[in-house]
Amino acid sequence: MIEFNDIKKSFTSGAVRTDVLKGVTFKVNKGEFAAIMAPSGTGKTTLLNVLGCLMKASSGSYLFEDQDIETLNDDQLSGIRNKKIGFVFQTFNLLERTSALDNVLLPLVYSDVYPADATKKASRLIESVGLKDRINYKPSELSGGQQQRVAIARALINDPAVILADEPTGNLDSNSAKEIMEIFKTLHKEGRTIIVVTHDINVARSAERIVYLKDGKVEKEEVLK
């Protein structure tokens, strides 16, 4: 479903050119739970931005459900992010002073069809991540783990093709981290495709397969289950 073929990305600042991704190739199949193990300084953020259609690669091809991402324009990329990708960030990225419910509904603001039962669907998702009684709480009234669960509910509201998590437990204590990873496992069991990008091997080990990134290239792949 996701196919990276020799993806390269470099940045130019003045006369200095930095090659961050130097030809990354890997695949993620539908329904798979994959981890991309990338210690800091290996192009993790860049990989994630390209993977999340937030940035285009300098060269190579990126196929997303057989669609060549590199040929799309800015608006079409926004459409892909809206419909196909559910983001979960390290820093949660919830809107301040906005209820959990409205945070979960955020992607629907930009979708072409607004389902009639949107609020119901959002409530159900919040319930499924165990925050039924916190539906109207604002981020500042929630713990880190709870905020991340709201973020996961938000990622699911548009039934995306893939959930893309960037260091989802990086800002959490170990108990909360465990709970979050359990949620990902459950989602995987329900048939969702999940990619977690992390530098934490313990997080990566929750997945079925780990892609190791080193120095802008795939070093090796390891199948766990």
């Binding site: 999340g52 937030l54 800015d74 459409g79 990225n93 938000r154």
Partner: protein, 403 residues
Amino acid sequence: MKIMRIASVSMNAVMKHKIRTFLIVLAIVVGIATLTVIVALTQGANKKIMQQINNFGPDAIMVHSGGGKMRGPATASEADLTKKDMEDIRDIDGVKMVSPFQISLDMPVKYGNKFTTSWVFGVEPSWQDAWKRGASKGDFISDSDNEQLSKVCVIGQTAAKELFADSNPIGESILVENISFKVIGILEKRGQSPIGTDFDNLILIPFTTASRRLMNQPLYITQARVIIYNPAQSSVIASRIKETLRANHHLADTEEDDFRLTTAGEIKKMVKGTSQTLNVFLWMVGIISPFVGGIVLMNIMLMAVSERKREIGLRRAVGAKKKHIVFQFLAESLVLTFAGGAFGVIAGVIIAILFSLTGKPISITWQPFAVAFIFSAVIGLFFGIYPARKAASLDPAGALSQK
């Protein structure tokens, strides 16, 4: 509707950032209120000018004896217009009528032990049509009064009040410079004269009586009111009158006019001239101050954009297109400027009303509201578009990673 959902995002942002909202709205309120007050004042001044022109009569041309630049009526002692002048003016194309009159300012008038001073006009019956004003009670001066040099008068209401208080003046006799005149009528009320004096403090007597008995001016005519058919021809006819009079008075090219002409256009120029410089200044202030409000808006919106980079990045990540971000921030600016415009126009109207209590003429029509609406829209769009585009042009990946 997607557009409504994004608009409600803008509304929420306006509601949630109270201090920011307050500051921007305040800046716009000051600007729009200033503009509203200025529109109301200028409109009021224009209305007053129009009133003065109507008072003078847009179809009237006044011919005064004596040259120079002095405004106001000539007096009998400087009279130099002739009967021939009157006839020649009457023959000019487009002239409907000519009504000559003698005038003497501030004449002492007595009735019993009551005393006042009043303008005395020696008139013909045509005066009624020329000034569109007749006797509201009793009779007006007739042709036979003129033929017989009758000592009768029609008195204005201010003069009547001074001399007779509430009793009926008709049939009584008053003394004008020790000559006795019988009151035969009371003149319709008019209020202000074209030059702003009390136009009800006057006494009309027959033209001939004035010339020979009172003002000792049997040969010449002090003044005349010319009525023309078409007000648009006013200046053309005025210059014809000028040529005619210069020829009749045998004036050489180097000599100045020994008469003066006043048209509605000149009254307008005279009244406007005094307020012109002030008006230009006022309008400058009025237009600049909403723009200052716009600059405040742009400043604060730019700050808001840089404060909300992460929010913008997040919105882009979950699928907002560039145009959605532009729309969101532009709508925010517009909500703020329209709120400012609405409060501003209300504040402006209140201030204008306070001004009117001090006697300033104001006029509040639909215009201040239209101006406020247009300025709000223009400022919101003009000063809001740059911050909005700046927000939309942020690189989503970069914006997301902002602290």
